[in-house]
Structure formats: C-alpha cells, structure tokens
C-alpha cells in the first residue's frame, strides 16, 4: 500500500493541493490575494521539491499506470515550469477575483498531464489528455471582459475536441486490429497492416494538433494572442512539453515496428513546421503572436530530434524541452510583467525598452538568444543535441534545412533585440516594478539559460535514464 502511494506521489501531491485550495476557499472566503498567492506558491515549491525524493519505479492498476526514472524527471520538469509560471503570474493575479479557481483549473490540467505521462495504456493516455485539455479552454477564457479571450477559448476547445476525436478514432481502430490497448502488447502485435497505418496517421494528426505542428497549427496564433499571458506561457511550454514527452514514448514503444513509416512522416512534418513557423514569425506585430509562431518553429526542430534513434531522440527531446522551459519562460516572464503593469503587448511598444528597463531587456535578450540557439546559451546546446540525434540517421539534407531555418529565425529574434536596444520611442515605457516572485522566476530562468549549456552532465544523466525505453 505504502509503495503504491509512493508510486503515485506526484499525482497525489497535486490532488492534495487542489483539495487544500478548495477547502480554503470555502472556509476562509475573504482571504487577501497576497496571502493566497504566497500560500499557493509555497505549496507549488514544496510540490517541486518533493519530486526529487522517494521516487519509485513500477506499475499500477493492472499495467495501466507506469512510472520510472525518466517519467519522474519529465514530471519534475513540468513542476518546475508550473512553479515558474505561477511566480510570474502574481502581478496579474493580484488584480483578479478568481485566484483559487485559476489555480484549481491549472493544477487539474497538470494532474491530467501527469496521468498522461505515466500512461501505459492508450485509454489511460486519452483520459489524461482530456483531463489536461478541457480546463485549459476555461483558462484561455480567463480575461472575462475581453472578447479575444473568449474567442481564444472557443477556438481552443474546438480544435482540441477535433484532435481528440481523431485520436480516439485512431485508438479504436488500433484496438480493432489488435484487441489490446496496452503499450507493450501493442508493440508486439503491430505488423503494419493498412488499417494500423491508417490509425497511426490519425494518431499522428491528433498529436500534430496538440503540439501545433504544421499543417495542424492554425489555431495556435489566435489562442496564444487571446489568452492571458500566464495561460499562453502554460500552453506553449507545459502543455506542449508534456505532449511531446508522451509522443516520444508512444512512437518509440507502441509504433516501434513502423519506424520506417513514421520516420518519413516526421521528416515532412519537421520541415514544414520549421519553414512555415519561421516565415510567419517574421511578419508578426504582436509579441505573443510572435512567440506563438516561434514556438511552432521550435516544435519543428524538436521533431528533427525525434526522428533519431530511440535513446538519443528521447534524451535530446527531454533536454531541449527543459531548456525551452527556461528560455521561453524568460521571454514570457518579461511579457507578463509588462502586460500586467501597462497592458502593452505589441512589439512596437518595446521600442527603447532597454533605456527604461535595462535588466528586463537583458533577460529578454538572453532568452531570445537561447531560443535562436546562439552559443553559448543553453538553447544552442539543446538544438545541437537535437541535430545530432537527427543526424545519427545520416540524413544531412534535413540537418541542412534545419540550419538554414536557424538563420531565418535569427533574423526575427534579433529584430526584437534591435527594437528593445536601439530604436527610439516617443512614449517610452515607464520603469517597471519587479516584485519578489517574478524576480525569483526570472533569475531562475537566467541561471538555467547560462549554466545548463556548460554542465552537459545533465544531458549525460538524461541519456542514461533514456535507456529504460
């Protein structure tokens, strides 16, 4: 019994936090926002710390639920991202009335992702996925008075429902041909008959929607723009990261027999996603929309890594997502501060940002450099390992396309840097107050961006864990 509890520790802690919040909400209805935020961030920090202790490996619920070192690591990465986003959101949440509701929804999605990561069965996977995506639609609508926010929620729920439908259709056909939903058994029974191929394509399309790979990306920009910043960063980092982790495990366990087939598909998806994401990012005027397209291009890069052999692919994808958490949240942290205090989100508003807010401009610059993959920021090492994983298969055309895309992406990332540092503004932004929580979060991101690249021990560690696949 004790062991079973420990196996499910991450899920249980999140559930306990949800219950604490709900009870607190009923018992002390008018507690101040500052008190609530301190408490919640404290709890999330404890949650993050707990991820490092008493970790066990094993299966539960008749092989439905599995956990091992790698999955624990993935959950820790999500916990870290959750904590950072929560710290960044304090300024915005202080002005809102629905703090508890916000966190209950957010933590529910996290719970769903944890179940999804630990799933060893397609039904369990689907359950986790739905648990994680429906509350997100409510979250996207959290700017209640804004029309765009409602639009974002509507678009998100529609596309999410559509992709879930595709996934479910694919899963049902897979069940029809094999008679099982267990990952290990599926891997043995899949032989590449046409129905299975068809179901695989449906599954891949479902995944494509969730990670917004081109041509399934159309919802992304609108949803990112309309949602509150905290939700946008959650969507682009946590939600995407979790699905990428699961996608890697599904591809490398369940569909291992079809590896030749899906290699070509990933190739095509990666190329399209990088090119379209990059070309659209160049023309954006809204910073959140811009980051939406840049994150699409990043997914294209991740798909290159995923097309490698299993161990390297898994390790490089996880390593990149970890770095992506730091670099993207560094950028979103600045946007969250600016947006909460001034309401400005256009790129032009950032003209001369360096003069009034030098530190924030520096944070943003480092984050963008890391996203662009310029050495020696962590982002470069992340992209390098992805390229190495992809190149392991000997496909240098793909690598060359990726390198050309890095040049394009450099152009638009530098454009933001240029705007902040070098352009004049008639109505410059005032000096922003950086309170303690966002400050901690931004400092953590900076430390991650600067240090992770040099301590590649971390990569070695992830690499050694990835053998468990």
């Amino acid at each position: 019994m004790n062991e079973a509890l420990l196996l499910m520790k991450p899920e249980l802690i999140v559930t306990v936090i949800i219950f604490i919040l709900l009870i607190l909400h009923v018992a002390r209805e008018n507690s101040s926002p500052a008190y609530l935020l301190n408490l919640i961030n404290g709890l999330l920090f404890i949650n993050f710390l707990c991820g490092f202790f008493f970790n066990r490996e094993g299966t539960l619920f008749g092989d439905m639920y599995v956990t091992n070192g790698l999955i624990v690591l993935e959950k820790n990465i999500l916990n870290l991202g959750m904590l950072l986003i929560s710290l960044q959101a304090t300024d915005w949440l202080k002005k809102k009335d629905f703090i508890v509701e916000f966190y209950v929804l957010l933590l529910t999605t996290l719970l769903g992702m944890f179940f999804m990561l630990s799933s060893n069965n397609l039904l369990m996977f689907y359950l986790g996925l739905e648990l994680s995506s429906i509350p997100l639609a409510a979250l996207a609508n959290f700017e209640l008075e804004k029309r765009k926010s409602s639009e974002a929620a509507m678009k998100f729920i529609m596309s999410s429902a559509f992709s879930s439908g595709l996934l479910l259709f694919g899963i049902s056909m897979l069940y029809g041909t094999t008679g099982t939903l267990n990952f290990a058994q599926l891997a043995m029974l899949i032989d590449g008959n046409p129905l299975q191929l068809f179901s695989f394509i449906l599954l891949l399309a479902g995944f494509g929607f969730k990670i917004s790979a081109v041509p399934f990306h159309l919802w992304t920009a609108d949803v990112y723009e309309g949602s509150p910043v905290a939700v946008t960063s959650y969507l682009s980092v946590i939600s995407k990261g979790a699905i990428l982790f699961v996608m890697a495990s599904v591809l490398f366990t369940v569909f291992k027999p079809l590896v030749e087939t899906w290699y070509n598909m990933l190739y095509l998806l990666a190329v399209l996603t990088m090119i379209i994401g990059n070309l659209f990012a160049i023309r954006q005027q809204n910073l959140k929309r811009f980051l939406a397209f840049s994150s699409i291009a990043q997914v294209g890069f991740i798909l290159i890594g995923m097309s490698g052999s299993s161990q390297e692919a898994t390790a490089s994808v996880i390593y990149f997502v970890l770095i992506y958490v730091f670099s993207n949240l560094g950028a979103f942290g600045v946007i969250a501060l600016v947006s909460a205090q001034t309401g400005k989100e256009e790129i032009d508003d950032y003209k001369g940002f360096y003069l009034s807010n030098p530190m924030l401009a520096l944070v943003m610059t480092l984050s963008l450099f890391s996203l662009a993959g310029i050495p020696p920021t962590a982002g470069f090492f992340g992209k390098f390992f992805l390229l190495m994983a992809g190149a392991g298969k000997g496909n240098f055309v793909l690598i060359t396309i990726a390198a050309l895309n890095m040049v394009i992406s450099l152009y638009y990332y530098l454009r933001i840097v240029k705007v902040m540092f070098m352009e004049k503004n008639e109505t410059p932004m005032e000096k922003l107050q950086i309170s303690l929580f966002p400050r901690i979060s931004l400092l953590t991101c900076m430390a991650g961006i600067i240090l992770i690249g040099f301590t590649t021990l971390l990569y070695d560690y992830i690499f050694s864990l990835s053998t468990s696949f």
């Binding site: 310029i374 690598i399 390198a403 530098l414 540092f421 070098m422």
Partner: protein, 490 residues
C-alpha cells in the same frame, strides 16, 4: 593550467567589471588584459623550453557525444593567442579618450570577446571550436551596434546574420565528420585528421568550411558586410574585428581545410585562389579611391587578408609560415593604423582626406610613427610586413607563378594608396587652422611606440615567431600529404 587560466581570467574580470563602480571600469579591464598578457608571455617561454604540460587542459564535457573540453597550444595557436593578449591592452587603452556610455557593459563585453578569441585559438575539439567561434559574435555585435555610429543597427544585423549563416554550414560539416569517426564517435580535431573521405565528400566539406571562413576573413565576394561594419563601429570594435576576429577565419582555414580535406582543396583550390586574388586587386583599387580614412584601411585590410588566405591555400611551408607571421603583423599594423586615425579624428574632428592636410608639420611625432607603421603595412624590407609578404608570395610562386604575379600587385597598389593617404593627410598644406593641436603625448606614446618597435623588431628578427610555428606547420603539411596519399591509395 595556463590554457585554462587564460580562459577563466576574462570571465572573472567580466564579473568584477559588472560589480565594480562604472568609473573604474576601464582601469579594471586594462589590469585584466595586462595580466592575461603576462600569462601568455609565460606560456611563450614555456613553449620555448619545450615544456608543453602546462599548455594543455582536457576534461570530459558531454560524454554522451564524446565531446571534450580539450584546449591546448601548439606554435600556431600560441602566436595567435600572443597576438590577442598583446592587442587587448592596446585596444582597451585606446578607448580612454572617448566617452563611453555604460562602460560596465562595454568592457564586460570586451572581456567576453577575449574569452571567445582565446578559446577559438586554443580549442582542440571541433565542437568547442564552434562554440567559441560563435561566442565571439554576441559581444562584437553589441559593441558595434550599441556603441556604433549612424546606421550601425541595420549594418551590424547584416554582419551578424551573414557570419552566422556561414558558420552554420561549418556546424553541419563538423557533425558530418563526427559521424565519420570510427567507433564511439569523437569531435577531436586530431581524429578528424585521420579520416579517409572520398573526393566527393571532401568537396562538400571543403565548401562548407570555406564559406564559413570566407565570410569571416572576408574573401571576395563575401566581403560586402565588412567595409560598412568597420566604418560604423566604434574604434575599439573595429580594432577587434580587423585585428583579431578575422584571424579566426584564417586560423580555421589552416586547422580544418588543409589537413582534413586535402583532396577537396586540390579540386577547388584554383577557384578559391582566383577569388582571393580578385579580392586583393579589387579591394586595393577601391582603397585607392576612398576619402574616408577608416574606410580606406578597411578596404586595405581586405586586400591584406586576401593575400594571407591565398598563402594558406597554396599549402606549402613558405605560404603557411608567411600566413602565420603575417596574421600577427597584420593585427599589429591595422590596430596601430586605426588607433592613429582615431587620434587624427579626435584632434581635427574629421577623418575625411580632403579636409585634412599637413598634419606632419603640426604633429611631428605622429608623422614619424605613422610612417613606420605604414611602411610595415606596405611591406618595406626591415619591417614586419616584408617578411610576411615575401614568404606569402614565395609560397604562391611555388604553387603557381602567375598567381604570385597577380597577388604581387598588392605590393604596388598598397604602396600607391598608402602613399596617397600619407601625401594628402600628412604632407601638403594645412587645411585646418587650429595650430594649437597637441602632438602624440603620454599614454598615446606608450601604446604607439611599442607597436612601432614590434614592427621593426619582427622585421629584423622574424625568427622569434617563425621558429615557433615551424614545427607545427611541418606536422600539418605532413598530415596533409599522408592523408592525400592514403586516400588515393584506396
């Protein structure tokens, strides 16, 4: 130990700079660079005593891909490290007249740049080389864009994207070579030397490397970023670019192209050589027409490095030895020239040739010092430039007499445009009536006199550098020839 200290020092001083008050930034940076120089001088003495143990440093970095943090110095590296360490105090001291906004950031970036340069010249692991090679871009981009003149923003953006595009090709080539290494793969450059690649592969890799380095050097027709960037950058940035950064490109040619893809070089060397020679003549002709002194030196720099690159591509002892010593000389000369132009601009408020004249009458010492460096730059016997250019042309003659003949035009054209500069600016009528202009004095002399002394000392005793690079050059050529015969024996 020495090697890693040289890398750590700039980092430590960059951190000190960020913490210390802004008023003392320049002094701290100067102290840091002088300490680096002393350590490099010690390294030089160790090398002469053939004690190589302290010059190397090797630890595992990312074992999953066999990446090692492996740095060390052979003779070629040592000369370039020495050049970096020597020019850094000069460049930092040269900024003392100009008022720099936000000096903390400026000098920290300078230190970061030194880290990158030292790293590139010492890296023995190809991945490490790439990381340092790119690391230099960020500081130089900010130095030029933030502290630069008008239109510096679009120009430096072009520069950044141009060079990064080039080096990404190099990254692909390095990854390709990595997967060619036997067993559990490695990024060790020495292991790359042992590879046997087919001629077709070598052709591709040659181009990937050549484009990356050609942008940096720059070789015609990849030079279009260079004159603009040099012109708009602040003087310190220009000195860094011209004196040190472009040496990374030539160093890359020597380290990667010659020993790894000798057959690729053999197939394409004529084409590349023609590009270099076109660059030499073309840049000299444009330099002849320039009115802006800084731009004139920028174009003359394209001509000089074109000759150095051609000497490397000739791939024989004279050419390589000449290239290495000329890299050192070019660094010294170009920095001294830019520094003196900065003095002129500071005193007269302009660096346009038709607004200047008769400076030698007003500033006698500057006239003499400029003459010495200028003679070095156009390669008069007994100056450093002569040794380098003589060896380079000799190497090219062995390669192909016609190539040497055309490249030799640089000597004549160089003399033409430099003497034109001297005549218009230093001699002739005084166009400015500020007769109170003060001559070179104090610390300016402290900078210029040693540089001029180096110009002459190396002109007379070139062996102090040539001896250092002799043995590694022979080894490199040996590798190259073994490699060539190894592949053709397949």
């Amino acid at each position: 130990m020495i090697a890693i200290t040289l890398l750590l020092l700039p980092v430590i001083f960059a951190i000190i700079l960020l913490l210390a008050p802004a008023a003392s930034s320049r002094r701290i940076a100067l102290i840091g660079s002088i300490i680096s120089f002393s350590i490099t001088a010690f390294a030089y003495s160790q090398y002469l005593q053939e004690d190589f143990t302290k010059l190397n440093f090797d630890v595992s970095w990312a074992s999953a891909f066999g990446i090692r943090f492996n740095i060390g110095m052979d003779g070629i590296s040592l000369i370039l490290v020495l050049l970096t360490a020597l020019l850094y105090p000069v460049i930092i001291a040269s900024t003392s007249r100009t008022v720099i906004s936000n000096p903390k950031a400026f000098y920290s970036l300078m230190m970061l740049m030194q880290l990158g340069l030292m790293g590139v010249f010492m890296a023995k692991d190809a991945f490490l080389f790439y990381v340092f090679y790119e690391l230099t871009l960020i500081p130089v981009y900010f130095i030029c864009a933030v502290w630069g003149g008008d239109r510096s923003i679009p120009i430096t953006l072009k520069f950044f994207i141009y060079t990064l595009a080039g080096s990404l090709l190099m990254l692909i080539a390095i990854i390709y070579l990595y997967f060619k290494t036997p067993g559990s793969h490695t990024f060790d450059i020495q292991a790359f030397y042992q590879l046997t690649l087919t001629p077709v592969e070598q052709g591709w890799i040659f181009w990937a490397f050549f484009l990356a380095f050609a942008v940096k050097i720059p070789i015609f027709p990849f030079h279009s970023w260079q004159p603009d960037t040099y012109t708009v950058s602040p003087m310190a940035g220009t000195m860094l670019l011209a004196g040190l950064m472009l040496k990374m490109g030539i160093y890359g040619l020597i380290r990667f192209i010659l020993p790894i893809v000798p057959l690729g070089l053999e197939d394409w060397v004529d084409f590349a050589m023609v590009l270099c020679i076109i660059g030499i003549v073309y840049a000299s002709l444009i330099a002849w027409q320039q009115q802006d002194l800084k731009r004139l030196i920028a174009y003359s720099s394209i001509a000089h490095v074109g000759l150095i690159a051609a000497g490397v591509l000739a791939a024989n002892t004279a050419g390589l030895q000449g290239a290495i010593i000329q890299m050192f000389n070019h660094g010294i000369n170009v920095v001294a020239l830019f520094f003196m132009i900065d003095i002129i601009e500071n005193r007269y408020g302009t660096r346009w040739m038709d607004e200047l004249g008769g400076i030698a009458g007003q500033m006698k010492k500057l006239g003499v010092l400029f003459m010495i460096v200028m003679l070095g730059s156009i390669g008069l016997p007994l100056t450093n430039g002569f040794v380098g250019e003589f060896l380079l042309l000799m190497g090219m003659y062995v390669f192909n007499p016609w190539a040497a003949a055309f490249a030799g035009l640089t000597l004549i054209l160089g003399a033409v445009y430099m003497f034109r500069l001297y005549r218009n600016v230093f001699l002739g009528e005084v166009k400015d009536h500020k007769m109170t202009t003060s001559d070179v004095a104090g610390w300016e002399g402290f900078i210029l006199i040693p540089l001029c002394a180096i110009v002459i000392v190396i002109g007379i005793f070139p062996s102090i550098l040539l001896n250092v690079s002799e043995q590694p050059v022979q080894q490199l050529l040996q590798f190259m020839n073994d490699h060539k015969s190894g592949v053709s024996g397949l």
